[in-house]
């Protein structure tokens, strides 16, 4: 049956068909839906792990024990998981192990634009790159076969436009696959003496993979009728086809290792060949190393952001796209904002009022606290960095400077805990605000160890963040209600006077989460009482607007009541039904 499927859904389906038994992940756009779809299959054990390193280790364990396993993450997640990845390349697997990694050219939802192909190459692991949903499904399945044929993890690399586009697929049936586990210390215990031997095997394997790439059906030449020639892969292939439907194309489905004879033969037929790939010149450099020099790549195509058919065409033909309609005046920008009723708003409203503070931030919805009207964040680097950085700053800053780290609940569990242990152990003087909205908000409400539910929505043991912090030895651990703005400003100021490591947990559920959702009637502004002081507008709530006086859109208002609590004139109250 033909149906429209999201790339990520198709990867999930391909894994189902391939008989996958274990699927692990930590959420991250644009990879999250792979695991969300897989969690709907009862035949597959799936889980949200606390971070990508753990997720990969769980999958590796299952694979070595003879069951096909998938581990999914976004590009930066692979940094966290690279430690097990690099050595899993040495041990090899037993049943197939596919690591699905989604890159984000254009950084729709990411803090950098790194190219996963480089990491996979460094780990000497083959990389498959699908270019639409059907290929997502097929390549996922092929990935497991190649993984087993060569005894190696396989990276399935997608990008936002592949993961988050729907196209037509035909689905297959599930086939179960089983391998027996045999204890093999030489293979699975990587001490120097064993690892030395395994490294030889890895190098040997790479040679065989190179040979394999010459004939594997994932790489193919599409003959054309014009004299233009391209080497491309992934989403760029679709853009090239759109821009130059008559061109001759070497389409690579396996982008590492590259088939040297195939590439040479292809390039030998043309005066020049365009290499089209988003982000780094990965194909280009690996082809140049072969001594093939009639290729044109990053000298005309950019290394940053996403491509499009018109970008490819205008870069090659050195022309400009005619735009028929343009708006002359500058339009007000619409960056993402904290949702109406978001508990983070209360915290940042308070933080904005703390004087002489350096606030290290972290990654999540709450990173929006860095933007106006709050401007209450100095840094955001990678998950968990807020705590380590605050500790570092506190060791070199003047005592009059208050150092505050702001971190979400999911992020804290992902990689904030070790930072906290460091800060306590090394006698830091910082305040850590854990914004506990009892979910992983940014990526769409995934459960985590402190929500009390697993990926299937079943109840499970709930990590107690406050107890954890106490057992680590923090000097102060307390909970606050993020909506009590004025109280919290005072409390935070008081705590900043106490030396040591202070943890404040601002706890209130995400307003968008179905589990905690209570539909209250919205608030409204009474025009007779409103004195037009506009203090309520400083909350930066998207449910509010301003005509003659502040106004609240009842369709958007989540009735958190913060505007009411700020209004000195009692002009805001709940709509009576």
């Amino acid at each position: 049956m033909k149906r429209l499927m999201l790339g990520n859904h198709a990867i999930a389906r391909g894994c189902f068909d391939a008989g996958v038994r274990v699927a692990t992940a930590y959420p991250g756009t644009p990879s999250t839906e792979i695991t969300e779809y897989i969690s709907q299959y009862d035949e597959i054990y799936s889980e949200w792990a606390p971070n990508e390193k753990v997720a990969l280790e769980v999958a590796l364990g299952a694979a070595i024990f003879g069951k096909r396993a998938l581990c999914s993450m976004k590009h930066v997640g692979l940094n966290v998981a690279s430690d097990p990845l690099f050595t899993a390349s040495y041990t090899g697997i037993n049943a197939g192990l596919v690591v699905a990694v989604a890159d984000d050219p254009g950084m729709h939802s990411s803090q950098n634009e790194q190219d996963t192909r480089n990491i996979a190459k460094a780990a000497k692991i083959p990389v498959l790159e699908p270019s639409d949903s059907q290929e997502c499904l097929d390549f996922a399945r092929r990935g497991f076969e190649i993984s087993e044929m060569f005894d190696t993890p396989v990276v399935l690399r997608s990008t936002t436009r592949v993961s988050h586009s729907q196209s037509i697929v035909e689905i297959d049936e599930r086939k179960e696959v089983d391998f027996e586990y045999k204890k093999d210390v030489e293979k699975y215990v990587m001490m120097p003496a064993m690892a030395r031997k395994r490294h030889e095997i890895v190098e040997e394997r790479e040679k065989r993979l190179r040979e394999f790439a010459e004939t594997v059906e994932l790489n193919r030449i599409e003959e054309g009728t014009s004299n233009m020639a391209f080497i491309t892969s992934g989403i760029s292939y679709q853009y090239v086809k759109e821009a130059y439907p008559d061109a001759c194309i070497l389409k690579l489905g396996m982008v590492y290792p590259l088939p040297e004879k195939l590439v040479r033969g292809f390039c030998g037929r043309f005066e020049k060949v365009y290499v089209v790939e988003e982000l780094d010149p990965f194909l280009e450099e690996n082809i140049k190393v072969m001594g093939v020099n009639n290729i044109i790549g990053k000298e005309i195509f950019k290394r940053t952001g996403e491509y499009s058919p018109s970008f490819i065409k205008t870069s090659i033909e050195k022309c400009k796209l005619e735009i028929p309609y343009r708006v002359d005046e500058e339009l007000p920008a619409r960056p993402p904002v904290l949702c109406p009723g978001c508990p983070h708003r209360g915290v940042f409203y308070s933080l904005r009022r703390i004087k002489n503070a350096v606030i290290t931030g972290d990654i999540g919805c709450y990173t929006l606290g860095a933007l106006p009207p709050f401007n209450a964040m100095d840094t955001c680097i990678c998950m968990g960095a807020s705590i380590g950085m605050a500790h570092g700053i506190s060791k070199v800053s003047d005592p009059s400077i208050k150092t505050i780290a702001v971190i979400g609940d999911s992020t804290f569990i992902h990689s904030g805990i070790t930072g906290l242990i460091d800060a306590v152990y090394n006698k830091s003087n910082i305040l850590i605000l854990i914004l506990d909205n009892i979910t992983t908000g940014m990526t769409g409400h995934q459960d985590h160890p402190a929500t009390g539910y697993n990926i299937k929505g079943e109840e499970t043991r709930q990590l107690d963040i406050a107890k954890l912090c106490r057992s680590i030895g923090c000097d102060v651990v307390e909970e606050i209600d993020p909506y009590r703005i004025n109280e919290n400003i005072k409390r935070i100021n008081d705590l900043l006077e106490i030396p040591g490591v202070k943890v404040v947990i601002a706890k209130a559920p995400c307003k968008l989460h179905r589990r905690y959702n209570t539909t209250l009637p919205g608030r409204y502004v009474d025009p007779d009482k409103c004195k037009n002081c506009k203090v309520c507008l400083t909350l930066g709530c998207p449910a509010m607007s301003y005509r003659e006086i502040p106004d609240i859109d009842p369709n958007l208002c989540a009735s958190c009541g913060m505007c009411e609590s700020l209004c000195k004139f009692g002009a805001i109250s709940m709509i009576k039904e």
Binding site: H164, Q166, K241, Y325, R326, A333, P373, M442, S545
Partner: protein, 199 residues
């Protein structure tokens, strides 16, 4: 049957672009087109400006609609209709809801919400304006604006009404189906009358 459709669906994160494009995609698929839909998930959904691309044709390669390529821009928010205008091809059509969500810079008084109607007229863009609030009032449900827009747009596609209704039934929860089918019908009842342009 039209040869192809290149459509932009634009709005503000949380307005339900994804469901709308799903229904659109499914209807095109059932009508025999090759279809690609490109969505936005993640960061931008938090109240930012969002765009979804829907393409249908005999064979579709790129999931993106390029600048100067869109046959239609369907906007769930008035200002967003302007933001993506460079994607419209010559003589392409904008269909927009007159619903306004002021961006933060407008709320704080740092910028002004533009006069969308007169800008579109001045530039000479073909457009339909859907006056949404009275319709929503009639249905007593603010969440069905997209379905009203869908009903209206469906009349421009040459695809049978039943195909659309089936796609709606397949994608909307039973509890909300009735109100959505009524909203769809309401959209189909809106007269197909383009706004006058200044020449």
């Amino acid at each position: 049957m039209k040869e192809s459709f290149d459509i932009l669906i634009v709005g503000v994160g949380g307005q339900g672009n994804i469901l709308f494009s799903k229904i659109l995609g499914e209807a095109f698929l059932n009508e025999g087109y090759d279809v690609k839909v490109s969505e936005v998930h993640g960061m931008a959904q938090r109240g930012g400006s969002v765009v979804t691309f829907v393409r249908a044709g005999e064979k579709v390669y790129s999931p993106l609609v390029d600048k100067a390529q869109a046959d239609y821009i369907i906007a769930f928010e008035k200002l967003e209709a302007l933001r993506w205008l460079e994607y419209l091809k010559k003589d392409g059509i904008v269909i927009y809801s007159d619903y306004e969500i002021p961006p933060m810079s407008v709320i704080s008084g740092k910028s002004r919400y533009p006069d969308v109607d007169s800008i579109l007229k001045d530039i000479g863009v073909r457009h339909y304006k859907i006056e949404i609030s009275s319709l929503l009032m009639e249905l007593k449900n603010p969440r069905v604006q997209n379905t009203i827009m869908l009903g209206f747009f469906s009349k421009l596609t040459g695809i049978e009404k039943q195909v659309w209704e089936r796609a709606i039934e397949n994608n909307i929860r039973a509890k909300l189906l009735d109100i959505n089918l009524r909203a769809f019908e309401m959209g189909r009842d809106i007269e197909l009358k383009e706004e006058e342009l200044k020449v």
